[in-house]
Symmetry: C2
Subunit: 562 residues, 2 copies
């Protein structure tokens, strides 16, 4: 993360770290050998019996880590999440970290990943960033098995009278592959299927990913899979997986993937790394099962949600917490001075120079997210991830701004120092928790209309003036309410770079209108997606993909992964 210091790389630090056998990590939270299923010496899944057995236990406190709107300067939200967990661990608290699994597509495309950085990483980072325990592959397979079953249904007589122009279920690969965005399948004559337009999403954008992450157990998983809308029939009525009768087969393919994965940080703090839906088209949080299980095993759970508080945290609080029935008790908002300066209007090249004015202007982005967290009835601590390029004057200014607004704030150095660098933050979070001021409730009742729910999010979370619905969106809202989908929460797909729907508007834009172009029913996941602007569900590879530098030596050691 800390690009301007001569550091060891993340992979060097990770490969030099000494891991404990995963059974030792399990024992820290009271689990025995019988509770886990080993995947090598350093990874394990928790068994279904163990997860069920824990249901009746009291829950620990859930701390959500979120951030300002991301910038090219980097914020380090995953790194702070891991570092905060390590710091609580250092303070002898019984703590677990709950993170998302990274997608292989971006790993092969551009340097990046979701295992933290520096001395605040979860291990084994190579495994977690490659195939890990196969969860995403199981999801890809279930996604594409369903697609094959739909096309086979067309080919074998189309008993459900599916309109082949209105099949909404797309195929998936866990790769960045722009050439698969729009395809035609079924070519080659009558024996090769029914020709039709189709497309591939990256696996993290598959509804099955969201379903797996919101399901509370295997039975709920199957119910949700059955509810997924795959197409509309010639009467324009929705056709579901349940109509096709294959939710059992899909659940069977996911029976291992639904179990959370136990790993450790460099400092041997236990972490559950499980699930990873996109934070735009989906809700951007690790699985409900992992977060809930962690809260049963530990007194403190540190978890995160994708992108800034306007996307990941909003969905964590309005969608995930509601589905899971838990109440988070504190939030950490991560920012860096560099990123705030970019929100204040300067470019990446200018970050090396002190610029207090830009910082003051950019602070408004942080301020909006802080207000949002309060609007959910939650207390927060601001975590400033320190960079060596931060000047004394900039740091002083930022601390004063926080003081002025009565924002609890701590500087962290978890990249360089691991848990040690997050002790002040941890103590501050513990103080906030002790005050017991959380009074969480979601922002809107589910009984609000779809338009009302969207408007609430735009006005309260984004700070926008109003919402415009396209003609298509209006018609869809009417249809969806007629189909009985009006009572679902909303998952807004929006650029992560701005509070508004215009990626160019950094800082804290005001007086803007958000346009809802189209809606998408994710009835299995249990939400309605509202699309604003163009939303990318299949990324492309850059001119020089990271894959060009990747290698493995003859002993199986990963090279150039990060």
């Amino acid at each position: 993360m800390n690009a301007n210091v001569k550091h060891k790389s993340d992979i060097e630090i990770a490969q030099n770290a000494k891991m404990l056998p995963i059974i030792k990590i399990a024992e820290q939270v009271g689990l025995t050998e019988d509770d886990i299923e080993l995947y090598g010496k350093y990874k394990a899944k928790l068994s279904s019996e163990t997860i069920n057995k824990l249901q009746t236990k009291q829950s620990g406190k859930i701390i959500l880590v979120t951030a300002i709107n991301p910038t090219p300067a980097g914020e380090g939200k995953s790194t702070v999440t891991v570092g905060l967990g390590d710091a609580l661990h250092k303070l002898h608290k019984k703590v677990m970290i709950a993170l998302r699994e990274p997608s292989l597509g971006p790993t092969m495309g551009i340097k990046g990943g979701a295992t933290g950085g520096g001395y605040a990483q979860v291990l084994p980072m190579e495994d977690i960033n490659l195939h890990f325990t196969g969860d995403f592959h199981a999801i890809t397979t279930a996604n594409n098995a369903l697609a094959a079953l739909i096309d086979n249904h067309l080919q074998q007589g189309n008993e459900l009278r599916i309109d082949q122009r209105r099949i909404v279920w797309k195929r998936a690969v866990d790769l960045n592959d722009r050439a698969l965005r729009k395809v035609i399948v079924g070519l080659g004559g009558p024996l090769q299927g029914v020709p039709r337009e189709d497309g591939f999403d990256i696996t993290v954008a598959s509804e099955i990913m969201a379903v797996l992450c919101l399901a509370t157990d295997l039975r709920d998983l199957k119910r949700r899979l059955g509810n997924m809308v795959i197409a509309y029939n010639i009467e324009k009525e929705p056709v579901t997986v349940g109509d096709l009768g294959v939710e059992g087969a899909l659940a069977l393919l996911l029976k291992e993937a639904i179990k959370p994965n136990l790993v450790q940080t460099i400092e041997h703090t236990p972490a559950l790394v499980h699930g990873g839906p996109f934070a735009n088209i989906a809700h951007g949080c690790n699985s409900v099962i992992a977060t809930t299980t962690a809260s049963k095993l530990a007194d403190y759970v540190v978890t995160e949600a994708g992108f800034g508080a306007d996307l990941g945290a909003e969905k964590f609080l309005n969608i995930k917490a509601r589905a899971a029935g838990f109440k988070p008790e504190a939030v950490v908002i991560v920012a860096t001075i560099r990123a705030l300066k970019m929100h204040g209007g300067i470019s990446k090249n200018e970050l090396g120079k002190e610029n207090v004015n830009a910082l003051v202007n950019g602070f408004e982005n942080l301020r909006k997210h802080a207000e949002t967290i309060n609007s959910f009835g939650l207390p927060f601590v601001v975590a400033i991830n320190k960079f060596v390029s931060d000047t004394e004057q900039e740091i002083k200014t930022l601390l004063e701004l926080c003081e002025k607004h009565q924002f609890p704030v701590e500087l962290t150095e978890v990249w360089e120092k691991g848990g040690e660098g997050g002790l002040a933050l941890a103590k501050s979070v513990l103080q906030v928790l002790e005050k017991n001021e959380a009074n969480f409730s979601p922002l809107y009742p589910l009984s609000d209309s779809i338009e009302e729910k969207i408007t609430t999010i735009v006005q309260t979370v984004y700070g926008g003036k109003n919402v415009e619905f396209s003609t298509k969106a209006k018609k869809q809202i009417a249809d969806f309410e007629a189909f009985g989908w009006g009572n679902l929460p909303i998952c807004i797909a929006k650029t992560q770079y701005s509070l508004s729907d215009d990626p160019g508007k950094l800082g804290r834009p005001t007086d803007f209108t958000v346009t809802v172009r189209e809606l998408k029913p994710s009835i299995g996941a249990g939400f309605i997606v509202a699309l604003t602007g163009d939303v990318m569900t299949m990324p492309g590879l850059p001119k020089a993909p990271a894959a060009l530098k990747m290698d493995v030596d003859e002993n199986g050691k990963a090279i150039g992964l990060f």
Copy 2:
């Protein structure tokens, strides 16, 4: 297998079997906890260090199980392979079984799998038949990462001057999905890639599957990956993965998949289940690494190859054994009276009735395969997989026919009785091995021309009269020899149902011509594919796919898998 008897189903037998912890199985062949990487309690991968450490050990004897041409009556080759291993285990021999991994596509499509049947199965059958240890998913991912990198190369300026009409690398899914056979990708305008024709193969038909199964170690894997031809440039010269510079990234994606998987049979015989290339477009054998490692760990290795001896065994002997540098010492040819009767001209409905004439006619198919095995300098035993529908007269006739031709023959009942039902066969195989008569050599020297090598296989293995090459094939042969590919072995893609290239010609057809329609370079795998007739590299789903009956209960128990 034994469809006409009221048995427990394969999955019932498998789920009632008591497995030993896989570490106990490892210990049987002298491995310790440090030699294996656990995947749950009952699956493990052998570590790279262990595999390397074993290289210098003396090799045990390799026994290859093959069969007559398959018929809808079923032969039970995998079942006999497992049962023979169990029988040798029962006789206190140090034995390992080496099998292919099943593909998920057929599992979701039609009842079937490659884990044996009845009381001769490898376990845990549900895991092995679903995602197992993720090997196939890693191969699918590497295959599709390469495809994405190729399309990205086109999109980013096409420095290698790839002719987009001559990209031969296809995408893959490990599913039966006919709608993906012929597709157009890259649609949607200049930001979505370069539009072109493409198609998907099932993962077992990916050249990466063949490469993984023929590689002797990670270094050899990388070399082979680098040699794979992905396209031709505008000068019609081959473009390889090495030219694209991504063999390191692909090898990195395969670093776990290359390690063989240790499991056990119902009778706790150790088995390595690893790799599974198609036996038509590829060579149809489990991995070289697994077979070689098994031979270092055990005194006897029982392994099998796909379809009949004309496909799998021919390729095992001419391609795999040559690449691996080992010499098998005995062959078992599996047949059933039912299948021989079908080769004798009767239909599946008529199998219930005694028909000695059909049996005598069908015996010619077995006889041809026996001659083939002898032409490789190898001794064999015929294994007759007994069915209750076999009449005394039929059994007597078959034994007499074998006696007349001096074929060692044994009846087996491994489906019903496990190893106990294969004791006679095991003793017979041990006798053959004791005589030490094997004098194995491949059928043709690599220095023969491509036409000569194909002709040798057609005449010696299929019993055909001659080979006709299409105009296209002739041109390709000239090109391939000019590219320096003339010294590779041949992998013929042919129907499995007949010795000829016409699936309707059962028994022992004679006087036939085989037409080679087209060739395909598999330079990474290290062979030239010669395509005869239409070869399916992406199966379709049936009218009522097996997926419709699959389910999982709330405790994660698989239902309706088989």
